[in-house]
Chain length 354, copies 5
């Protein structure tokens, strides 16, 4: 499952401050889903034009807009102008090669997260950027493409009695981040299975390929750990209360998410240790195979070399070799050779080589 993504050059040489979409080419129009809810009402609206969003002025609801696609730079610019967003945030939304990070501005809270897409069969992982913009009573999430990752949250909001309906957009943010963190646990399981598979292959039938697989698994685990690691800082900044947008009552929920992240990072580290252990096992199993080959050679050679010598002796053409003329020497020689062979075999048995 190798997924080292090389840095895309597309932005190199361009001035900082230029909004550029850096992902794979996409053509489909960007779609928007708006959900407005409070303790009493719930409304879900598909809008096609970003300006429609800014026309809605309800303040007694939580307004959650999902932007599905960040490849249309114009839309990001319109949005930026409408709410007077800092240009660098606009850039970060479209540049899908950002690190996970938090940007605390006067009236905004901007967070970049990463989720992982994977197909269960071939285990090709794709890193997907999800960014969150929190301000006033609003939360805007930006996805790279249409995705149903947050469907369970939508369902929960629909349910009248869920806690999410009673709390603000900061709790909504927590719920979404929590879903992403949960998806890492699923990823952990897949990696765990992969590691187990390699371990089994190592025991049953190790070959050159196994070594490559071990190296790739190790590389992937380290890679994922690096991508996930900065979440610690992000959530820490929230817990420390750096931004007034997150109310203090919500801190305890983020503290919980923090513990989960620590657990995930620790598990990734223990996987890395296990994979390193597999490498040792692989190398020593190669040594073991070598030993086995050597043993067969040694046993065959050590048994037959002395016998061949004996045969050689009686193949000599000396005129005066008394044994040659005796009647039973041939038989006796066979017996001697048999005894020698048996002694050898017993010796090897003792040494536990056979």
């Amino acid at each position: 499952m190798p997924f080292l993504k090389r840095y895309k050059k597309s932005k190199l040489g361009l001035p900082p401050g230029t909004i550029v979409y850096t992902g794979e080419e996409r053509k489909e129009p960007i779609s928007f889903t708006l959900i407005e809810y409070n303790e009493i009402n719930f409304e879900k609206i598909e809008i096609t034009n970003i300006s429609d969003f800014f026309k809605r002025k309800k303040t007694n609801v939580v307004s959650w807009l999902t932007v599905q696609g960040v490849h249309d730079v114009d839309i990001i610019e319109i949005l930026g102008k409408e709410i007077d967003l800092h240009p660098i945030v606009m850039e970060d939304i479209s540049n899908i090669h950002e690190r996970i990070k938090i940007e605390i501005l006067d009236k905004f809270l901007f967070i970049v997260m990463k989720s992982f897409d994977f197909t269960p069969e071939n285990l090709e992982l794709t890193e997907r950027q999800i960014s969150f913009l929190l301000y006033e009573n609003k939360l805007i999430t930006f996805l790279e493409e249409k995705s149903n990752i947050f469907n369970s949250i939508i369902n929960r909001i629909q349910s009248e009695f869920s806690r999410i309906r009673k709390l603000g957009n900061d709790y909504l943010l927590h719920s979404l981040i929590d879903i992403i963190v949960d998806s890492y646990f699923t990823l952990l399981e897949i990696i765990g299975d992969k590691v187990s598979d390699i371990e089994e292959e190592l025991v049953t039938n190790p070959d050159k390929n196994t070594l490559m697989q071990i190296q790739h698994a190790k590389h992937d685990i380290i890679q994922i750990r690096k991508i996930i690691f900065p979440i610690r800082e992000v959530i820490n900044a929230i817990i420390r209360g750096d931004s007034p947008i997150i109310k203090e009552a919500t801190h305890i929920y983020f503290r919980d998410a923090y513990d989960h992240i620590i657990r995930i990072i620790e598990t990734l580290e223990s996987y890395r240790d296990m994979v390193s252990g597999l490498l040792d096992i692989y190398l020593s199993s190669i040594s073991n195979r070598m030993n086995e080959v050597m043993k067969v050679l040694t046993i065959i050679a050590t048994i037959f070399i002395p016998l061949t010598f004996i045969a050689g002796v009686y193949g000599m053409n000396f005129l005066y070799m008394p044994e040659l003329g005796w009647k039973y020497s041939y038989l006796v020689i066979w017996i001697i050779m048999l005894i020698v062979a048996i002694i050898m075999v017993i010796y090897f048995r003792r040494k536990k080589w056979i």
Copy 2:
């Protein structure tokens, strides 16, 4: 003794804030033991209904309730409502896959700890979560199942003259944590024995299996260290005086527990180093075996190859080979071959190969 527990999926996809029991399925009803004591009185009451606990309003005693089982989510919810507990704490009580942690709230102190169950024979370790809720004059402990881990503390409380009777619920908390930390020392001994066993096996009869055992022992030690490690932070938070519920006079006792934890972690680290050392010994013992095999081959081959050559020479059919006709050549050849063999053997002795 491998005990890597995979993360249970059960909570994935569920909204944060849902109380879910994440352990193995259990059916037995949850039982409660209430102990109330002060310097003069001691009372032990088995109660069957959690509401009975809240009806008791004595304030001049320490009230210690033990909840044996966290699989009945309803009971946790009742408890939560009665004392106005934060929902996230309620979740943490039932989710037995939490990390060791401390949650300092306005009126509560909540601590998650881990003990290890093990059967001395087969060394299968099971991680057990124990959580403590401290408030007012009360301490509630939550166990996963019935357990006699705290029996020695109950005995001590019964004794009229013990220090525990004179001090508050914070000292009781310390005593319980101290018992758990003590149990880690027992665990250390078992691991130490295991490491010694592997070391002995390594010296007497190493095989493929030994390598696996070394890797598993290493993995277990690292795993246990990771689980135990956060206790440092928990006790540190207490010593720093983050929570007013722990009186300052009790700090010195926690400082002592802190030293024990450091000692345990250090011992685990030294075990890990020892196990890594064992790996080196294993790999080099495999090399040694290989050397031994090679030596036998070399000795046998090196002695007989020249002798076979000599025999081969006199097996040639040239018409004019003067030695063939001499009377004692056969004898002389035997003597020469003997001398060659002896020289070889002496040479190998000198090289210390035999």
Copy 3:
């Protein structure tokens, strides 16, 4: 691509405070490019004498002077006296072996950066020092030699509507540093390609040389990481607001540059890990080759040694060897030898050695 540059002795033994050019000898006269711009005007002037720069006194523009060459110590001294620069800064400008660093003085901000020159074919990297002096409305950049690294910035300034025209010299500084950081991404790609090349060579045709290449690549990666690493501190000092010369509005841009640096360092670290992995693969592929050689020896020897023994037996000259006289013994012996050989081959097939 080995580029470990030994420390030049030239400054050893000289008093601290002596301005000395420590690079390779250069003779060409130093040239100056002055760009003055504000939101309305843009002027680009080639000046030949440093004093001309100090005669210009416009304050409503950003004045950007590029000094192409630091080998003429006299010019640095004139400059130092004109603006009352601290002697140690004057030294640092000419000594091209400084580490990346920031020097925050009362009225000046002085930054030393490093770029890398490389020719795509032979991958010889050369470290180039670029220093920045920021004060009042001015920015002076010092290059080791003529270079077009900042051409894209000049183009941008020329464009009337670019953001750079509206902001001060601190934003200009950010743009220049951003260009340098961007060039590191290009470097990363080259290193990545090199690592891939080695990996491929390792799979197809590893030899002694490969090991050297791995070691050199590892060394280079560590070296580059060390050179780049202190940028973190430099940008951190800016973000912390240590110098009033950088306005707070510009901090967010530097925060972005900070994230890029972290990403670069992380990628370098993952390359280092990959190269270490390659070393393991190399060592194990050598083991594998050895195994292959041993296997051929074992197979050939193990098949023919018993056969040679059989032939040896019937080469003995005993008078009474009944088989010798039988009519079909020769044929039978051939058949026996064939059967032995076939059994051996089947055995090896089973063991998966052939």
Copy 4:
């Protein structure tokens, strides 16, 4: 010199706050030595009853009591009651498995230190606990058994003009700790000698046992480092002025002791590195031996296999083999075989295998 001491179970299961002696069993009565001195007077008194100590009320002297033995728990309890000592300190005095630590109480300063007993011949190290209790004008030291480790200090106090007579009990404490730290330097030398011995053995005559010795030395060094390491924190706490009992004028002396501890820890670390280096040398020397064995086999086999083949050819029984009938063929064959052998030997010489 293996001395991993397993944690003694004796305290497990006992309530915290119980004073228990955890060392090897001892029967002898505890003896007390009291030294009282000031600039003018010096008195040394052997007392047999701890209460005698508390009857002496001089305040213009430094009172230094040495308690030789901590196995009589009653004495510790009397002492604790007399001066109103915290129970946990009383426990720590008798529990000889404490870590090195400092306990700063209102009126007391309590320090636990470790010295090492060793017999120069067999290098069995024993860890010995020494604790210090400092209050008012008094210093009480607790030893596990009678020891002359502090005799040089007693001698110095006896000398009228020594600095120790002019300074308080805090300087006395420093002198005692300094003696202990000095004893670590002696330990360092012994370890250094041991490492040198192993290195020499490695060069002259490495065997299986050497590997074990290397592992044990490594383990011991790490163990000692771990025991000594916390002294840093102890002395740091003193230097920071955490306790008013240590006057500021004495800080500089402790700073000196701090430097010595750092030097000791650094030396231990360099020993550990050296021992790790020895492991590499050992493993490679095993490889070298293997190579030597292989070379002998190769040389003998490679010389004689072709010769045996030649002999085999002329052992064939073809009717028409012209060479067989020629007069000098036998001689010629010998010459040919000799030439082949010589060419082989020259080839091996060239390759530097002989």
Copy 5:
């Protein structure tokens, strides 16, 4: 170039506070050089008696006294009494086994530094202690023996127009430390050369000795790094402004020295990495040699074993072996054997073993 100096026992057992010279025995009288200068005057005086120094009371000059030799304890004591120096500083001056350190006292600044003496041929390094005592308008430097390390500074002071003449004794201190740090760069070059030498030897002619050299080089590099490392703290304490004796205007110069120290430590670290890399190359080159030996054996054995078998077959004495009687069988057999050999050789070529 091994130079691990064992800790000298000489001070063990002596009371702390005793001034003891701990270096090799020296007999020569201690000599003193006094230099007094200000912007206008310069005077260099050889004095023979330390008291002469204290009789000079000029305050409008910088007074720099160099004490060449610290083995006469009496002189240190006189000096200590004259200026009321703390006893521990007096000890530190004579004890040449101190770590690099800074001692900030009320009116004094005391710094211990280390230089390295080495003879270019045999590369035996000797650590030399240099200490500095700064107070009022004075700087006293203590050297272990006569040395010309500071001659270049003396020359500079003599020059009327040098900056050193205009600045105080703190700038003088900086200049002296700068000279010492510069000498480390020379040391770096020597180590670099040594590492290159080992690398070359490794490529051309590696033997057992090379491994020892690698280990020693590694050890030396680590050792030097450890000795130099604490300079960071020393200079940091100065830069932080811990002592008022160093004026703030001088801080920038020390900041420059700090950067140099970082560069030196980094270079040492990269040398250590390179040496570790050499170890890997050495071990793999041993493997390679082994492979070469094995290949020769395999090729010779694999070619001749089948041929010998063929010869053996026709050495059998069966009565009815039709081939024996045919006229050209001998020739045919030779041709067959030749073909077999050629096929083998081609096979080995294909495998790239020849």
